[in-house]
């Protein structure tokens, strides 16, 4: 399969992490701040929409906006893939609690924010992007499938594609059945063509059945984010932050892994 190029990357590791501290944490040089909430205010949304934006939308925006502002202005309407294993657990909780009440009144805003493609919808509005956008879920394989779908988007109409992978923490009682203790998200700009912006060349192979144990991400990072399905992307992010070439594996389906060959270019 043809390689794609990674032009840029971003990650949400906790509140008040600017680009420099995000890179330092990903390189294992400093600890990640402890938090179970997303503290990010989207700047691309008008005030009304910003107030209504749910936690998963804000988490997705945190990694998308970082990439958006670094793109040339004429390249900001690009196809996108939004990958989240669980969507917005907080909304599901609120809606299910509203349904226990006599009147069963669901907030209309909450209802339209409950769709899995809420982040994609808000993003297309905020960035005026009219290109194709997929919103997908694949449980513990969400990162692998997000990468494949974004690569497929990028190569099928050769150009750039935005990938955002994100999962928030479920509130009680949903945390009993889906325990995720920290929110985590990352974003990539993939490009079918190599350019001056290319940071790395990424080649994906789906058919690997054996997992080579990669240890790029620092141990404390892996254990801090272990409960979040999106943390399957930590090794890739750490390798990008360290500017290290590496071969990584990510679980991709029952019995198969996705092999990521990352070759750093800058």
């Amino acid at each position: 399969m043809s390689p794609v190029y990674i032009d840029d990357f971003s990650a949400y590791l906790g509140a008040d992490c600017d680009r420099d501290s995000t890179l330092a944490i990903l390189r294992g040089e400093q600890p990640a701040p402890e938090t179970d909430k997303v503290d990010f205010k989207p700047s691309l949304l008008p005030p009304n929409e910003r107030r209504r934006a749910s936690e998963s939308v804000r988490l997705a925006f945190s990694v998308c906006e970082a990439l958006y502002f670094a793109l040339p202005e004429d390249a900001r309407d690009l196809p996108s893939v939004f990958a989240s294993s669980g969507g917005d657990y907080r909304i599901f909780d609120t809606v299910c609690r509203s349904l226990l009440e006599q009147q069963r009144q669901i907030s209309p805003t909450l209802f339209h924010n409950s769709v899995h493609n809420a982040a994609a919808g808000y993003w297309s509005i905020a960035s005026a992007a009219r290109s194709a956008s997929s919103s997908i879920a694949a449980g513990d394989f969400t990162v692998a499938m997000g990468l494949l779908e974004a690569m497929a988007q990028c190569l099928s109409a050769p150009g750039r594609c935005l990938l955002a992978c994100y999962d928030i923490c479920p509130p009680a009682p949903l945390n009993q059945v889906r325990p995720i203790s920290r929110p985590f998200a990352f974003g990539l700009i993939l490009n079918a063509q190599r350019s001056a912006a290319s940071r790395a060349r990424l080649t994906l192979r789906f058919d690997k059945s054996s997992e080579s144990e990669s240890t790029i991400a620092a141990e404390f990072l892996r254990s801090a984010f272990a409960s979040n399905p999106i943390a399957r992307g930590l090794d890739l992010l750490s390798a990008l932050a360290l500017r290290t070439s590496a071969t990584l594996t990510v679980p991709a389906s029952a019995g198969q892994n996705l092999e990521l060959s990352l070759e750093c270019l800058s």
């Binding site: 669901i106 924010n113 493609n117 194709a132 059945v177």
Partner: protein, 395 residues
């Protein structure tokens, strides 16, 4: 695009189980809509299209943790039209690691969570032990269940873009096949009745108190339905019915209202025509998304008349099947294949007086007098997510 073969296809909805039931109900003019009777939601004055067979459908004991309304509907639908046997026979020709599974749903098995929450108070805040979030409510549950039933190990994910979900899965299959990642794909969509969608659409004041009336001057909202539809696609061999084109777009306008001039809808239809290498005049019938809300039908018909003029026959089948949300794309793909197979264009049920603002040839009655070779099917969802498919048959 290079056409994709549809090796087999099945659909189950309130019209009945399997393709021939869909066709018979349409032909004999039996709508699946009934006054709302779903669980204890009778206080909602609306009409629904329920698949009543779900209530007494058996479920594989090997997968009992996966049992929920949505996966039961999926299981029920897979048993129709010999689909299960046909797919297994086809799989003998493919490497199961190179067969993708891409299924659409909007709410998956959320009904299980809604019911589990009812036990929280008596359970000191604990979810009941019968409840399995991962296998029921989670959006991936549907796809993981179906992939496991067929022992497929290729790329598999759920597409959840509200009401365009199970049209967009065809685009995923096409991209993955084009890239050489897979040789075939099982695609489809399943959405089932739940309180979240019923009370949610009620809160948006989008539920009609009557059977929905798409394109009618007095239309006032949707009627919710449930359905499951699946198809097996590949480039190998040859089949009568094929997917010739598809187009995707985003409105970039509003979370729950379409762009008033149907800008995104027009983008998707034009992209589908371009990918099929067809002109507007080549399309024999358009299956409209046609939900029956004021805004949706106006936006879609504006886009249709802009591209196709006012002659191309079109209809919404939502008043037959209800709006099956994340399953609508796959269900209407199946209805499109019926149109091709039987040279049968279904009437737009519920059409009393055509909204004079809509300048489209909306079919008041079934039309069976001409050869049908190319059908365009539209699916548009919340968040401004649009997808149009072109399915055809050479005669």
């Amino acid at each position: 695009m290079q056409a994709l073969n549809i090796h087999c296809i099945t659909a189950s909805s309130a019209l009945g189980l399997g393709l021939s039931s869909q066709f018979a109900a349409l032909r004999d003019k039996r709508s699946g809509l009934r006054q709302n009777h779903f669980l204890d939601t009778g206080d909602l004055n609306t009409w629904i299209a329920a698949v009543n067979e779900i209530e007494h459908c058996d479920f594989p004991d090997s997968h009992r943790d996966w049992r929920c309304r949505n996966n039961t509907l999926a299981w029920l639908a897979l048993q129709q039209d010999n689909f299960f046997e046909q797919v297994n026979a086809l799989l003998a020709r493919f490497d199961r690691r190179r067969v993708g599974v891409f299924l659409g749903t909007s709410t998956s098995g959320i009904l299980s969570t809604e019911i589990a929450y009812r036990e929280l108070q008596d359970n000191e805040g604990h979810l009941p032990s019968w409840y399995h979030y991962e296998q029921t409510h989670n959006n991936f549950s549907l796809t993981a269940f179906v992939a496991d039933i067929f022992n497929l190990q290729g790329p598999a994910f759920t597409v959840s873009t509200a009401c365009s979900s199970s049209a967009k899965v065809v685009a995923c299959a096409q991209r993955f096949i084009d890239l050489g990642l897979i040789d075939a794909a099982l695609i489809g969509g399943v959405d089932s009745l739940c309180l979240t969608t019923l009370y949610g659409f009620h809160s948006l004041q989008l539920l009609s108190s009557q059977p929905c009336r798409p394109c009618d001057a007095e239309r006032d909202g949707i009627s919710i339905g449930e359905a499951a539809a699946f198809a097996f696609l590949s480039r190998s061999g040859d089949t009568d019915t094929k997917i010739y084109g598809l187009g995707e777009s985003s409105d970039a306008y509003h979370m729950s209202s379409p762009h008033p001039e149907g800008r995104g809808a027009a983008d998707a239809m034009r992209a589908a025509l371009t990918s099929a290498g067809l002109n507007a005049g080549d399309i024999d019938y358009i299956n409209l998304h046609g939900t029956g809300t004021r805004a949706n039908d106006a936006a879609e018909c504006a886009a249709v008349s802009d591209i196709f003029g006012g002659d191309t026959p079109c209809s919404s089948t939502k008043a037959w099947t209800g709006h099956t949300l994340g399953a609508a794309g796959a269900l209407e793909l199946a209805i499109a294949t019926l149109a091709l197979r039987h040279n049968f264009l279904p009437a737009n049920l519920g059409l009393g007086q055509l909204d004079p603002e809509l300048r489209c040839n909306v079919l008041r009655d079934h039309q069976c007098d001409r050869s049908v070779r190319r059908v365009l099917s539209n699916s548009f969802g919340f968040g401004g997510s649009n997808c149009s498919l072109i399915v055809g048959c050479d005669k």
